[in-house]
């Protein structure tokens, strides 16, 4: 009985696992994660759920990043204009 069950379990698990394959981009993602650790947090599921930056801006657009300057009791709120194209260059 054990032999039959062993064979059965082994075949079922191997066949089940064989139906799924890792992404063909896994190696590329791994090597990116090594050189740029921020990619590590971009897991498959999170990447799939993120809207693409291309959906809402182009490299020619400018965005305004909020910033605060503090000196003593004096605080100044600022909005820094940043060119998307230069951000992309920075990320690469």
């Amino acid at each position: 009985m054990n032999d039959e069950m062993d064979l059965y379990l082994s075949r079922c698990l191997k066949n089940w696992a064989a139906r799924r394959r890792p992404s063909p981009h896994g190696k590329d993602r791994l090597l990116r994660a090594v050189v740029a650790p921020r990619w590590k947090s971009m897991t498959t599921r999170r990447l799939a759920s993120l809207p693409s930056a291309r959906d809402f801006c182009t490299p020619n657009d400018t965005i305004y990043l909020p910033g605060i300057m503090m000196r003593g009791s004096f605080t100044l709120s600022l909005a820094w204009p940043v060119h998307i194209g230069s951000l992309i260059n920075l990320a690469q």
Binding site: N2, S10, C12, W16, K40
Partner: protein, 194 residues
């Protein structure tokens, strides 16, 4: 890959070679992916865990002994990271899944029904319901064809403990799969190991 090539590759990895990491990835990715996949039952998690295993291989390459095979280290890391993943995710994921199933009245698409009815899937789900220590032994033994001695070294527990987990795991599986094996042909074997 012979042992000389393996040693060279580990030494290259220790010097930070990305090419060596890529070669190890090519060689072991399916082994790591399938182990994580059957332990977690979640293809996305298996993919993320696989990446984490190889990242750690790169980061901790200095701790790898070039004279020893790499598989036990990879298995141990896969099991440990899968355990961490299960602990972190299952705590809140399972109730959410139960709630979603309850809200949808447990409705499944024809494809899901067909898949849920096949033996492979039922066995995988039965394995997923085992306690983690038994599940890991069952996966390493049946999926990866490792010996009790190998499993004992990977998990760093006595062989007797491995035997006992295998015994109770088998018993639980037999109970949950009762009737499935009787009078049914075994599924065809189309698995090719890594």
């Amino acid at each position: 890959m012979n042992s000389g090539e393996h040693q060279d590759l580990v030494l290259q990895l220790q010097q930070g070679s990305l090419d060596a990491l890529g070669q190890f990835y090519d060689q072991y990715q399916r082994m790591v992916y399938r182990t994580a996949l059957v332990i977690t039952g979640d293809p996305d998690a298996a993919e993320d865990l696989m990446q984490d295993v190889f990242l750690r291989l790169y980061r901790f390459a200095d701790h790898i002994d070039p004279l020893r095979p790499l598989e036990p280290w990879l298995y141990r890391m896969t099991v440990n990271l899968s355990y961490t993943w299960m602990k972190r995710n299952r705590r809140w994921l399972r109730p959410l899944e139960d709630l979603a199933e309850w809200l949808t009245g447990g409705r499944q698409s024809p494809h899901e029904v067909a898949e849920a009815q096949d033996d492979w899937d039922r066995v995988q789900r039965a394995v997923s319901n085992l306690p983690f220590p038994q599940r890991v032994v069952i996966v390493l033994y049946y999926l990866n064809d490792l010996s009790l001695q190998d499993i004992s070294e990977i998990l760093e527990v006595p062989v007797g403990t491995v035997k006992s987990r295998l015994h109770y795991g088998r018993q639980a599986l037999r109970k949950s799969l009762e009737g499935l094996m009787d009078g049914e042909a075994l599924p065809s074997l189309d698995y090719k190991g890594s």
